[in-house]
Symmetry: C2
Subunit: 333 residues, 2 copies
């Protein structure tokens, strides 16, 4: 049987309270007994039961991470950085893949609460203010990543999507493109809408007309990108450039072009978004709007941590700046 704090206490001839105090380094303990107990713990191969500890202290040192799909490299990379940072701070992360489905999302949310996670990282959810509201009522610290719920005061870490959309489009315009299509991930996501707004703003800036039929709403996968780009390329007039709102879509776009015998970038320029490692995997290497993924992840975990420790009470909104990374998938028209 695994030794408990009682076994240690008995062996050391002290009370469990004393042992508990040396474990948690609080309370007054003489150096002599401290050493004795530490020694005995090592000898018995004793490790505190964290479930019991959690029950009594109401801290589990666990964080819930909700994201659409960890097999999407953007989220995989993000979760990696989060886990790194969380581990440094003494937390563990429970992964929840929601597929952006509201039912799974709220299932996980209640599950995580029951499990007593200390905080939640929410990188999913096409805005479900209701469940968020009940969460914030319950005082469970939470930070939203790359998602916004304007109605609610809630901690958020995101990238300036408007600026990103603007930068991508501006880059294409500067290369002389006038017929630029855009493939957005979804219309429910604030981030998508922002990128689209950035696109429109850049067009307007250069007096390039905005056309509804140049906007295709798609999804998160390469396949979706292929299909969306296919529609654009098979239409009556082919755009000379496509701004795909994430790297997977951009890759799908490149593949769609290739399968129609179009050269990228000579005959079609493509810009992506995210700058996951995929951007340099495909050929041509993708020009893309780079998100500081690692920075987003760390900021999110740090912010959550500060809220959990009560170090900071005020809700905040951290906006990071994206940066256009020019590679080989774009060229002058």
């Amino acid at each position: 049987m695994k030794p408990t704090i009682y076994d240690v206490a008995r062996r050391a001839g002290v009370s469990i309270a004393t042992v508990s105090k040396v474990i948690n380094r609080n309370g007054k303990i003489s150096e002599r007994t401290r050493e004795k107990i530490v020694h005995i713990m090592a000898e018995m191969d004793y490790f505190p039961n964290l479930v019991a500890s959690a029950l009594s202290s109401k801290k589990t040192n666990m964080l819930g991470l909700l994201l659409p799909d960890i097999s999407n490299p953007y989220f995989a990379e993000m979760s990696r950085h989060m886990e790194d940072r969380a581990f440094e701070l003494g937390y563990h992360i429970v992964i929840c893949n929601t597929d952006n489905r509201i039912d799974k999302e709220s299932d996980y949310l209640t599950f995580l609460q029951q499990k007593g996670v200390d905080g939640i990282l929410l990188a999913t959810g096409a805005a479900h203010p209701q469940s968020l509201e009940t969460l914030s009522e319950k005082k469970l610290p939470i930070v939203l990543i790359a998602r916004e719920v304007p109605q609610l005061p809630v901690n958020t870490v995101l990238v300036d999507d408007f600026r990103g959309g603007y930068a991508a489009t501006e880059h294409l315009l500067q290369n002389g493109h006038r017929d630029i299509a855009i493939i957005v991930e979804s219309i429910d996501l604030a981030s998508s809408r922002e990128r689209l707004q950035g696109y429109r703003a850049a067009l307007a800036e250069q007096r390039c007309p905005y056309r509804e039929d140049r906007v295709v709403v798609s999804d998160f996968s390469i396949r979706a990108g292929m299909e969306a780009a296919g529609m654009l390329l098979d239409g009556p007039r082919q755009p000379t450039a496509i701004f795909a709102c994430n790297d997977l879509l951009a890759i799908g776009t490149v593949q769609a072009a290739r399968s129609r015998g179009l050269q990228v970038p000579e005959q079609l320029s493509v810009v992506g978004f995210d700058d996951t490692f995929l951007a340099t995997v495909i050929d041509p290497a993708l020009t893309t709007v780079g998100q500081p993924i690692r920075e987003i992840a760390r900021q999110a975990v740090d912010l959550l941590h500060r809220q959990m420790t009560g170090e900071e009470q005020a809700k905040q909104r951290i906006v990071l700046l994206p940066e256009l990374v020019v590679r080989n998938s774009t060229s002058p028209v």
Copy 2:
């Protein structure tokens, strides 16, 4: 304050034992009281505290998943399937990125134990029999994925790496290649050794000489693949084909070839291993040894589950078969 089982019991005019029984659907409860309690629970918005439940029942419904790096698509895909299956069975998964470092691995291992996970999925670890041994002493169910520790009787799910290595090499030989190099991930991993053995066996079969200097030991990343392939390609005699022991290495190999002006597959055939989604992302699409990733994941979780429930006591070893997927990165010499 969140309601507890006491609040529910008081409100229903019964003892907490009764409430507990309706929660867990065990014990004899009349339909009438059951309904009343269910109703009251809903009304009070009561959810059992799973930490408390875990403490007394000694079940956390959590599984630990150790893997080298979730941002590696192979592991990302695997973890996704595991999480899916685990969720179906009522488990949550805690992710641990070990970077194949023994210190992180054992840190996580003790941490997970303290947390009281019900089982461990171990897809990492260059063989660290000692910590495994202590684990199995502690009766903590565990299954190894794609890793072997011959010394110990332990549950394992893996792919027939020998056969995979053989198939890849055979394919190249059948295409007339006689100078086939191999890039292995590591030499500490049983899976790598098996693939290498398969490679050697295929060569021997076709009376093709095995040469030490055609074997390069590398790592898990694209960069490592580029470097390893670079060494081979910059050597005195270029191989006509390279078998890279995972898709990332294969991609690195393709990039190394490209950066030297070599056409794949015309001037260099490349075979990968894993068949992650990356295989179809790059151009040319990768010929690769396909692992049934989803199947591996599900089998692993199911096996762990059966062990945890005591449904199956005997340790087992499940071997799945890889299948060569021929695409466009290989051609006749």
